[in-house]
């Protein structure tokens, strides 16, 4: 689970909307280019933001975790992309050729994946969820119902993880096989845990709905305890991000940045 990491940094102080804009901008830029040096520059900027936010070490840990998937992506490209100049063969007798293009494309894909994911991790790590809720509903005018739904889903993750453990133990105590290496045994075990879990969640959902009703939910005159003002710095940051994206698109339309 990606968690909020409390720090005193200029990035933390930015409005959630500014940070969200940044994360989406990084995504757009990473998707329109597929040349390795361009993607490396974008990844570099994400890391610079992580340094500014004081969460550099944690983000390196995340990158290390992503590296495994990156290698997997490269292998996939190498196995299935057969065009271009052959560099060498994986197996003797000219089986499984590895082309230069496949390697470049694979590395570009992994860089892209790492850049996009890392930018969202930085966003989530520097933004408190409640601030995000206020920014989304009060400033972006998203319906509170949907934002609340999303927040509740997040709030109930630990509750359900806890319930899963309880149900598994209860089922195991009654002699159900809840663990096993055989895939069929595993699927069976999952249903034995899933059915009670669904029933429990329905009951919890009803309890939650009642608790919300008795506390005036849905009265359509909502205010917010802590507002998220958009400061001048936020505006400047968002404009700068916008300019970067426009510049990126123009460069791309000129034919640069593609293999």
């Amino acid at each position: 689970m990606i968690e909020y990491m409390p720090r005193e940094s200029p990035i933390h102080r930015l409005n959630p909307l500014a940070k969200m804009t940044w994360a989406f901008a990084v995504m757009i830029l990473a998707l329109i280019f597929n040349q390795i040096d361009y993607l490396l520059v974008i990844l570099g900027t994400v890391l610079i933001v992580a340094v500014l936010a004081g969460i550099y070490r944690e983000m390196l840990g995340v990158l290390k975790g992503l590296l495994m998937f990156a290698v997997f992506l490269v292998v996939l490209q190498v196995l299935f992309y057969r065009q271009g100049t052959v560099l060498f063969f994986l197996l003797p007798l000219d089986y499984l050729p590895v082309t230069r293009e496949a390697l470049l494309l694979g590395v570009a894909m992994s860089l892209r994946m790492m850049t996009v994911l890392l930018s969202f991790v930085v966003f989530l790590a520097t933004t408190q969820f409640k601030d995000m809720v206020v920014a989304l509903t009060d400033k972006l005018k998203l319906p509170y119902d949907y934002v609340f739904m999303f927040m509740t889903a997040l709030r109930f993750v630990p509750v359900f993880l806890n319930e899963i453990v309880k149900v598994r133990e209860a089922q195991a105590a009654r002699g159900c096989q809840v663990d096993g290496h055989h895939p069929i045994v595993k699927v069976k075990a999952y249903t034995q845990v899933a059915v009670p879990l669904v029933l429990i969640s329905l009951r919890k959902a009803e309890g939650l709905a009642i608790a919300m009703e008795t506390r005036g939910y849905g009265s359509n005159q909502r205010t917010y305890f802590k507002e998220q003002p958009i400061t001048r710095i936020d505006r400047v940051v968002m404009m700068a991000i916008g300019l970067f994206v426009v510049a990126g698109v123009i460069i791309r339309l000129q034919g640069f940045g593609m293999i």
């Binding site: 927040m151 630990p158 009642i210 506390r215 205010t223």
Partner: protein
């Protein structure tokens, strides 16, 4: 002044279902501490749901008779108006907590009814103080103990400044120290602010100590009603119903059967024994 007037209240969850409440008449005065107990399935929870408007506004069924809250029928009030007068606390600490941290949880109701920021700040500080959890203000709700969660739930309803607090088994999942903390808070609210408290629980030891009136429910009816000293003296009947009798009362009863006012707390019990000897 009566906060609640309940006139011949009957309720069934559906046309083919058995009656859950069967003709309840009751008035509740402002400032009372009402303890409700009785065997499971006696209709305690359903009765409380009629008091805080969940029935008929959230859960449907066939309701006869009337529930008057401050002389107005609860059926005609909107849920949000009831929420202003009646705070509700439920048994499951997990599902009644809505937010990720304590402060958010307390302002949830206040944001819903559209208060300004300064009023919210005052109400949050006050509610946290009243429940004795000011130090938990910035904690994550997931990290709290059961007793703390229930106190957060109470604080969250207090933030709306209700006249009445309705609690359905608020301590059923708590250990003795958590239970004690919750009842201490209720007692304080009742004594110092004159808040009307209506609590259903099986933990009669605590009811005996704090409640001003006890209602024993059985099969949808109030079968016994009165001061705790009088109600817990009727031990033959309570045993028949399967209601747990406070320990001190049981001991006193075994010593001497026909007393009108039975001792309930250890101090009262000591006094009583000295008189007997």
């Amino acid at each position: 002044m009566n906060v609640y007037e309940i006139e011949n209240l009957s309720f069934r969850y559906g046309p083919s279902k058995a009656g859950v409440l069967a003709g309840i008449d009751l008035s509740i005065e402002k400032g009372e501490f009402i303890g409700i107990t009785g065997p499971t399935g006696a209709g305690k929870s359903t009765f409380l749901k009629c008091l805080n408007g969940i029935i008929p506004h959230f859960q449907g069924g066939i309701l006869e008779g009337n529930v008057l809250l401050n002389h107005n029928s609860i059926m005609e009030k909107r849920m949000i108006d009831i929420a202003h007068c009646v705070g509700s606390v439920f048994d499951d600490p997990e599902s009644q907590i809505v937010s990720l941290d304590v402060e958010q949880e307390l302002v949830f109701a206040l944001e819903n009814i559209g208060l300004d920021q300064q009023t919210m700040e005052e109400r949050v500080t006050e509610a946290l103080q009243m429940t004795g959890i000011s130090h938990l203000r910035h904690s994550k709700t997931a990290a709290l103990s059961g007793g703390q969660k229930q106190r957060v739930a109470i604080a969250a309803s207090l933030a709306l400044k209700p006249q009445v607090l309705v609690l359905d088994e608020p301590t059923s999942e708590l250990d003795p120290s958590g239970t004690k903390a919750v009842f201490e808070v209720l007692n304080q609210l009742n004594r110092e602010l004159g808040m009307t408290i209506i609590v259903a629980t099986q933990k009669t030891d605590f009811l005996a100590r704090y409640a001003s009136r006890i209602l024993i429910f059985n099969q949808g009816k109030i079968v016994l009603e009165g001061k705790p000293q009088a109600v817990f003296a009727q031990q033959e009947m309570l045993k028949c119903l399967g209601v747990r009798v406070p320990q001190v009362a049981e001991l006193a009863y075994r010593l001497q059967k026909n007393v009108r006012e039975i001792p309930l707390t250890v101090a009262e019990g000591l006094n009583y024994i000295q008189r007997c000897l």
